[in-house]
Symmetry: C2
Subunit: 284 residues, 2 copies
């Protein structure tokens, strides 16, 4: 039996199950300090099993390069106490025999959607999540992508929509994708949160514009066969279709992948994508 | 002994050597019809060895997905006669015992620069080439990237430089990176070829702008530790430094990789990158 941990900024999920993503049991609780949180994780897993392998899906930034000396360490985290904490060291101390695999939370969710979710069976998939910020997990040629640090898709620079005067809210870049299209950006632009904007609000034409340009970036670099868009902001009716239409227009006939409808879809696994993906990591 | 083939739109290189990229002998000739070109390749290799493995670096678009039924076939090639021709089938007919690996020419060059060239020892490298068009090979986590078809980096959509009224020349997208910054785009914009523009010509500030935005796209998706820019247009003095400076400004402190200078560099292997990379493919 394997174990999995989905470590989020606000909630933690720990589970036991199989490396195909089947959950046998799970436990959810609020993320607090690293010591307390990992203590509860270890205690819960220990009561269930001595896991052969443990898959971790973590919020970031976290060092996922297995060759780095600080592999598994939280880096420059905005969350108090977590900066410099090693998740992998904490788990290895408790389960020294376990094989540990660590991924970003978005990569784990991408893997789950690509195996058993909205892009089941595909080897080239992007999973974009739009909440407070924008992130993406990317499966390319059957492998999860990560480079020097890890993908920071939200900070791709995209052309402005004609006439759009909004400055953008990214503290680093102003009008990068996240600066223009994250939940925080929508809130700042319209003076109310995304979930209060009706599905025919002009906000969504603008949202689709920036998302579609980000997706063209993916097509140019790690071409997905399908793009899954999740996260709270994505739940407004029609956003996936609007974005797909615009991607097809922008592609200009050049990227054959986008001709296979549906191309931009909602996730299928909902709240379970992260933890099921974390379990699948034990089989990589 | 292994063999390698670099198949270009105008010239073909065939070689024998080792999978570390060491060339024992090579032969260059103009690319003509597929039958004649592959005939010369087979004849030359046969006279040297019965290769255990053959690495191919091919111009595109070519089907490099090994699971596709038309693996190794040239697709929608602008080059007469090549459309639908299977390079791998032609080589397998002559060398049925050989293990064949096929990559895009830019991916092979990227591999060679990452192993023994301008980014030696790095596992996350992008190799951009600027000639008539713009292409890129991408090594991410030690693996060459390719998705549904193959990376089409030149067609990424980038923000316009303020005040730039040039329409762009890409027949699909107008002002994508290739439409604004390829050798053809420079020629159209300034009325003379890139190599006739002096290194202090305003063309190069514009060129650096579009290249730097494309590189931010790479940083957001498949973060390179170093970016190698080659191809005829890149040879003007100062372009790499200009681009690197601008990448650092645009990164806004967010992408740590760009703080390690040099970040944007010229290739080291020159004309040999493709064929040496093709030989390295035999060791993957």
């Amino acid at each position: 039996m394997n174990a999995a941990l989905e470590l989020g900024g606000t909630k933690t999920v720990v589970a036991v199950g199989e490396n195909n993503g089947d959950l046998l049991d799970e436990y959810r609780f609020p993320t607090t300090t690293p010591e307390e949180t990992l203590g509860r994780v270890v205690e819960w897993i220990s009561a269930k099993t001595s896991p052969e392998a443990i898959g971790i899906a973590a919020f970031g930034p976290v060092r996922i390069d297995t060759k780095a000396t600080d592999w598994g360490t939280m880096l420059a985290s905005p969350k108090p106490h977590w900066n410099g904490f090693s998740i992998t060291a904490a788990l290895l101390a408790a389960f020294p025999e376990s094989n540990i695999t660590l991924e970003t939370d978005v990569n784990a969710a991408c893997l789950a959607e690509a195996r058993i979710g909205a892009a089941a069976g595909m080897e080239n998939v992007a999973y974009i999540t739009i909440g407070t910020g924008i992130g993406a997990g990317i499966l390319c040629g059957g492998r999860l992508l990560h480079g020097a640090l890890h993908p920071e898709f939200g900070h791709i620079l995209v052309p402005r929509k004609m006439g759009d005067e909004f400055a953008g809210i990214c503290p680093f870049h102003g009008d990068c994708l996240e600066g223009m299209a994250s939940g925080s950006a929508i809130g700042r632009r319209w003076g109310k949160p995304a979930h209060e904007l009706s599905s025919d609000h002009p906000a969504w034409e603008i949202e689709a514009w920036y998302l579609a340009h980000g997706i063209i970036g993916l097509l140019a670099i790690s071409p997905p066969q399908r793009v899954v868009i999740g996260g709270g902001v994505s739940q407004v009716e029609g956003l996936h279709d609007k974005t797909e239409e615009l991607v097809r227009v922008l592609a200009g006939g050049y990227f054959p992948a986008v001709n296979e409808a549906p191309y931009v879809v909602a996730p299928k696994l909902g709240q379970k994508a992260g933890i099921r993906g974390a379990l699948m990591l034990t089989g990589l």
